[in-house]
Amino acid sequence: MIAYLIDGPLWYFSLAVFCIGVLWHLARIIFTRGRTDLSVARGSAGGGAIRNVFSRFIPHREIASQIGLPVVAGYMFHLGLFAVLFFAAPHVIFLEENLLGFGWTPMPHWAFIVASQFAFFGLILLWLRRMLTSVGRLISTTDDHVAAILTFVVMLTGCLALLKGFPELRLLHRFTVELLLIYFPFSCLMHTFTFIPSRAFTGAWFGRRGIDA
């Protein structure tokens, strides 16, 4: 019964909440009023927007040494998670059979181990920094902690699900993924998508002023 619920209705429900929630959230941003800038532009807003979406992947040289830990840990976590999410063999098979109808070559097992270690270490380092620095403690919200813990639990159950002969662990992983999907659109996890308009808006502002940001 529980297996049926997790593999069936709850999966479709969480997927629907995720998709509708993300689209609703993005639509709200796009359709909320903006402001027309009446000053005469010096440069291109469009060019600035595109440039800023990509340039922010690399921190400014002037501040790189002060923010080395969060940048390195951030890259470890995000790249590791991306690799595991889209290239771990069970995920490729799952996506092919349940969602897309086509697959691609998964990464080898050793690469999966490396990627998941990166993701774990990155996430733990980021969370420790949040807890151990005065700035992190002051500005962190409940949402930040819930999102971090939920992501960690999903990754942990994902690793446990690899143990053959324990189908309950696969169910547990899928259940935590479903919780994450439901939580996602209403949380800071939305930065996965909203960082693009955020960078673009700021880049456009810099671009029309002719500032290389």
Binding site: T32, I67, L126, L138, C188, T194
Partner: protein
């Protein structure tokens, strides 16, 4: 709900737009912005973390625009905003932020933190939570026409001295001139050599220009305090003055926030595009040099550096021009380690220098600039903002450092060659 709180919340709601929504949806509270802010790096106080300064706006967004906030509100569990949510942020926003915008350069998700802080400032100003010093300066700007209380009589006296010192006629209220030059209060009261330099350079380059007795003041206390209505009122004086004299261009002086107010935010404050062009004095000098109308001679042999005023460079886009102008007249020019769009602020922008209450914090924040200057061992510092110049002169004096500050326009005027025409 008190009237002050209601006024503040009304502003915050009016300022909520798609940018702010995308910013708060994206911020993961990584705290990287703290390392970009000199008020945090020099004090170590986490409250000066730039994103924390936006908390009133963020709380409103969370309560009224986020899923959880709306749900809590429906269930009667929402944490309402109180007057303390505004009053407690007054010191952080006015004393502990110079609106330098360095934080907006480093945010990994692209939040323009400085822009949101200005929106918070706007709400605080309308709600009446602003420091006395800035309130007084703003009141003088509205009543007298200048935040330092400078009247046209004082300007006339400065003109008279400039004419005596240069032997040149300073044009006043000349209809149909190409350029209307504005002055900042500091340039009238503390650095009158700026006007003398303009007279020499424009005479040399054959520029048709004038001052206006209706619009002489470029400083905009409305922008500094964050009140858009007052900022618009002050910009409108310039617009009216320029229209009366039918000028084609208005020159923003060596003043950072005046450039922001006139060039970038002014049309938005007054609600319409200008019928004239606004050009910063450095942009104009660079244009004249490129056209061959501005010729210089001789070179400074001292070891010089350039302090980039945040509002002109990082937030204004005038970065290459000062270097283009300095190159032909300096033999021993050296850049600070962090310069250009990532330069460190002097610590007195955004109205901090007009806020007596922030005096101690301003001196602490200046330590960053002090170490930048010490590191490169220069003989003098050149800049192009009279406020930066004043703040740095004070900071260097406070730290017993004997390093002169020079205005770039003034330096150019000292190196003018024979008239090319």
């Amino acid at each position: 709900m008190t009237e002050r709180l209601e006024k503040g919340l009304q502003v915050l709601r009016a300022e909520m737009d798609k940018k702010v929504m995308s910013f708060f949806s994206s911020c993961v509270n990584c705290g990287i912005c703290a390392e970009s802010c000199l008020f945090y790096t020099e004090t170590g106080d986490p409250r000066y973390t730039p994103i924390y300064k936006t908390e009133p706006m963020r709380k409103l967004w969370k309560n009224e625009y986020s899923f959880w906030g709306k749900l809590k509100s429906k269930l009667g569990m929402s944490e309402s905003m109180t007057e303390a949510d505004l009053s407690d942020w007054e010191e952080l926003v006015y004393d502990g932020c110079s609106m330098c915008g360095r934080c907006s350069m480093v945010c990994p998700v692209g939040v323009d933190i400085s822009m949101v802080i200005f929106k918070v400032k706007h709400a605080l100003a309308v709600a009446g939570f602003s420091p006395e010093g800035l309130v007084g300066a703003t009141q003088r700007a509205v009543d007298i026409g200048s935040p330092m209380g400078i009247t046209m009589k004082a300007v006339l006296a400065t003109i008279k001295h400039a004419e005596a010192n240069t032997g040149l006629k300073i044009p006043l209220d000349v209809e149909g001139a190409d350029y209307l030059a504005l002055l900042s209060s500091n340039e009238i009261a503390l650095y009158p050599e700026y006007l003398e330099s303009l007279a020499k350079i424009f005479d040399h380059a054959g520029v048709s220009w004038t001052l206006s007795s209706d619009a002489y003041e470029a400083t905009n206390s409305g922008l500094q305090i964050g009140n858009k209505a007052i900022a618009g009122q002050l910009v409108q004086r310039v617009v009216d003055g320029a229209a009366k004299l039918k000028v084609k261009n208005v020159i923003s002086p060596e003043c950072g926030h005046a450039y922001t107010a006139l060039r970038w935010e002014g049309p938005n404050f007054v609600g319409k595009a200008y019928p004239f062009r606004v050009v910063h004095i450095l942009e104009l000098l660079d244009e004249l040099q490129a056209q061959g109308k501005l010729k210089t001679t001789g070179m400074e042999t001292d070891r010089l550096t350039f302090h980039d005023p945040c509002s002109i460079v990082r937030r204004g886009g005038v970065q290459a021009q000062p270097r283009n102008l300095l190159r032909p007249i300096t033999q021993n020019f050296v850049e600070m380690t962090d310069h250009g769009s990532m330069n460190w602020c002097c610590g007195g922008g955004g109205g901090v220098s007009s806020n007596e209450r922030a005096e101690g914090l301003k001196h602490t924040a200046f330590n960053r600039k002090k170490s930048q200057i010490e590191e490169i061992k220069v003989d003098a510092v050149v800049t192009a903002c009279s406020n930066c110049r004043m703040v740095m002169e004070e900071g260097l004096e406070f730290n017993e450092m004997d390093i002169p500050l020079l205005g770039l326009t003034e330096l150019i005027a000292e190196h003018l060659a024979e008239k090319p025409h």
